[in-house]
């Protein structure tokens, strides 16, 4: 128990701080705000955890609350989390521990750099170590551990999508040779039916561009970034080590991936483990090549676009997907009011992908549902995405919000492919 005794508030008529004359009645703001109504022990316990220190910096300005996507469908934000912990909530056993999608919109506006992208994984790791994990998420962790993907699909089927692509993809473990581009397919493009649609479209576009590329096939494993953010750091490290060993076996000059989460891992996290790769998201790779494509068809669709948090806010790429949309013949593009740096979140990040029912009990609607409504409001008939989590999330949300027939969801690569046929 570390109850802080009320300090004496001092107001100096004349006060010079660091050479600055701040005389006046408002200078008492520089006194520590004394908290005596609550035990600060629980907060101090959390902020003592490595990675979670910055939670202590919050001064309750409230800017994050209006930025937090979860707050728009519930009651959430770093400010609220801070206050709850300060007034006695044990966050490590509270559902709030799992609601943050690590979308980073709060960090963008926080004057004190309270960093949920660091706080949440650190606290969740403690909960995971105490085996306190929501069952859905536990299943995703176990699947990733056992099969190398959170969907629990067999590893040997990872490259099965290639068969029906109608365009070649070199599966490097079967056909060993140096390639220009190593394409890191990731789990949802490898296994999810809608992800496979996009993967096949990608293969066809690569063929049209004449790129020399290959994939790791059954040897590829989940990059594990979302599992890391959901608190399973050990799992992330284990799979990262395996992936790094696998990648070392093959020769390639650059890497491209379908998934902003894999992009984030390979760009920002794997280097911390000593492995650096020239990695691009596929929109970054393709945007400059769009001019070389032999367009066959105009696509007269009204479209809008959803920025993936881990491509946009986390890695600063807003232009590449927009440039692709701009160059596909015929598309009429409208932005949603929340876009780019202030883009909304689909709810899939930070483990949210595997917490749908859990989260559903604590919010009024899913983030993906809110986002689908926003897309419909623009008058668009198609929501364009470029993250493998999003097609299925948004298609489900189109159904659950009764917008079937009004809004289609397409990966941008599917539109490129369509315009080439």
């Amino acid at each position: 128990m570390s109850k802080v005794e009320p300090g004496r508030v001092r107001e100096d008529e004349h006060l010079i701080v660091e050479g600055m004359d701040i005389s006046g009645h408002w200078n008492r703001m520089f006194e520590q705000r004394v908290l005596w109504s609550h035990d600060t022990g629980p907060l101090e316990k959390l902020t003592a955890i490595t990675g979670a220190e910055s939670l202590a910096y919050c001064y309750q300005c409230g800017k994050c609350t209006s930025a937090c996507p979860v707050d728009s469908v519930g009651s959430y934000s770093p400010r609220k989390i801070f206050r709850k912990v300060q007034t006695g909530t044990d966050l490590l056993t509270n559902p709030d521990l799992w609601l943050c999608t690590t979308c980073a919109n709060c960090l963008r506006v926080c004057p004190k750099e309270v960093n949920m992208i660091s706080i949440m994984p650190a606290l969740r790791e403690v909960a995971v170590t105490e085996a306190n994990v929501p069952p859905e998420l536990q299943k995703a962790f176990e699947n990733t551990f056992q099969h190398g993907n959170p969907l629990g699909e067999p590893a040997r089927k990872r490259a099965d999508w290639v068969a029906e692509a109608g365009a070649p993809a070199t599966i490097l473990p079967r056909e060993r040779r140096p390639v220009d581009v190593l394409f890191y397919v990731e789990c949802y493009w490898s296994y999810h039916p809608r992800g496979r649609d996009a993967a096949r479209a990608f293969a066809r576009v690569m063929e049209k561009l004449g790129v020399d590329w290959g994939i790791l096939g059954p040897e590829e494993k989940c990059s594990c970034d979302s599992q890391r953010l959901a608190g399973e750091r050990g799992l992330f490290e284990m799979l990262a080590e395996q992936n790094i060993r696998t990648l070392a076996k093959y020769e390639f000059s650059r890497m491209v991936t379908s998934d902003p989460h894999a992009y984030n891992a390979l760009r920002n996290e794997y280097p911390k483990l000593g492995a650096e790769y020239p990695i691009q998201h596929y929109t970054q790779f393709l945007a400059p090549l769009m001019g070389q494509l032999p367009w066959k068809r105009r696509l007269d669709y009204k479209v809008t676009f959803h920025d993936p948090c881990y491509l946009g806010r986390h890695n600063g790429e807003y232009d590449a997907p927009r440039e692709m949309i701009r160059q596909i013949p015929g598309l009429q593009f409208t932005e949603m009011f929340r876009c780019k740096a202030n883009g909304y979140c689909c709810g899939g990040g930070g483990g949210g992908m595997w917490l749908d029912s859990f989260t559903g009990n604590h919010v009024t609607e899913r983030l993906s549902e809110r986002r689908v409504r926003e897309a419909v409001e623009t008058g668009a008939e198609m929501l364009v995405v470029c993250c493998p989590y999003e097609v299925s999330r948004f298609e489900d949300a189109v159904k659950s919000t009764g917008n079937e027939g009004r809004l289609l969801v397409r990966d941008v690569i599917e539109l490129v492919d369509e315009a080439l046929r």
């Binding site: 170590t129 994990v133 056992q146 050990g234 799992l235």
Partner: protein, 256 residues
């Protein structure tokens, strides 16, 4: 209290299973193995007993491909010791032969209580616990969903058809076939698993003479044949009800 938990691996049903060329077993080339889920519950029950009253938990398995990781995971979950028994083969044994192969090592270990899964996906007879008990000459209860220590005995909840439960007291030492632990098996964080693997603390034992004999020989293994498909009854609810009644009568399933 010293608890031994007997575990084994079963084929992971994520993979499509194929019958081997001989027609008597699974084609193991692509089979991925995982811990039998009932054994997982037995282990959870043991760890719960340890947490409740301070038992020592030893996990025991026959040697075989991938078994090390299963044992390390058990240590990460809370087992104090892990024992790998070499029965002279890496091939999976049926329950009868596994029980004879394990009995000696378990006797040497000297536990007060043996817990194992009530059954396994590749052996639905549920005979592992009774065979082990017979080998050891100890009492046995199966289809148990809760175990509590009661002095020199354990009190167990045994499940019957129709949702009935019995509470039984069994003198120790005893063998219990666990259907379900009172709570789902807890998550094993990978960091802890890796710690366990780094510690490398697996013990080994050799199955005694006569181990791994007996048992049933599989003469044929085949995929179930698909039925002819369902017959859909159409019409108003009353008409459908009449048709159902007629069908049941026709097949001699209704009296009177």
């Amino acid at each position: 209290m010293h608890i031994a938990v007997v575990v084994k691996q079963v084929p992971d049903l994520v993979e499509e299973l194929e019958v081997d060329a001989a027609g008597t077993g699974l084609d193991r080339a692509w089979v991925k193995m995982k811990l039998n889920e009932f054994d997982d519950h037995a282990l959870e029950q043991a760890v719960l007993l340890k947490e409740a009253g301070g038992a020592q938990v030893s996990v025991v398995a026959l040697d075989g491909e991938g078994i090390d990781q299963v044992l390390y995971a058990a240590v990460a979950r809370g087992a104090d010791r892990a024992l790998k028994v070499d029965a002279g083969t890496q091939e999976p044994l049926d329950s009868r032969r596994a029980a004879t192969a394990l009995a000696g090592a378990i006797r040497d270990l000297g536990p007060d209580l043996v817990l194992t899964g009530v059954q396994a996906a590749d052996d639905l007879f549920g005979q592992m616990a009774p065979f082990l008990a017979a080998e050891l000459g100890w009492p046995h209860v199966s289809v148990v969903s809760q175990v509590e220590v009661a002095g020199a005995a354990v009190r167990v909840q045994q499940e019957y058809a129709g949702g009935r439960m019995a509470t039984l007291e069994v003198d120790l030492p005893a063998v219990i076939g666990v259907q379900a632990a009172p709570q789902p098996p807890r998550y094993v964080p990978v960091s802890r698993l890796r710690q366990a693997m780094a510690s490398g603390a697996l013990e080994t034992a050799t199955a005694g003479a006569g181990a791994g004999t007996g048992g049933a020989a599989v003469t044929q293994l085949a995929k179930p044949e698909a039925g002819r498909g369902a017959e859909m009854l159409t019409g108003s609810p009353d008409q459908v009800a009449e048709k159902i009644e007629a069908l049941l009568r026709e097949r001699g399933l209704l009296r009177g």
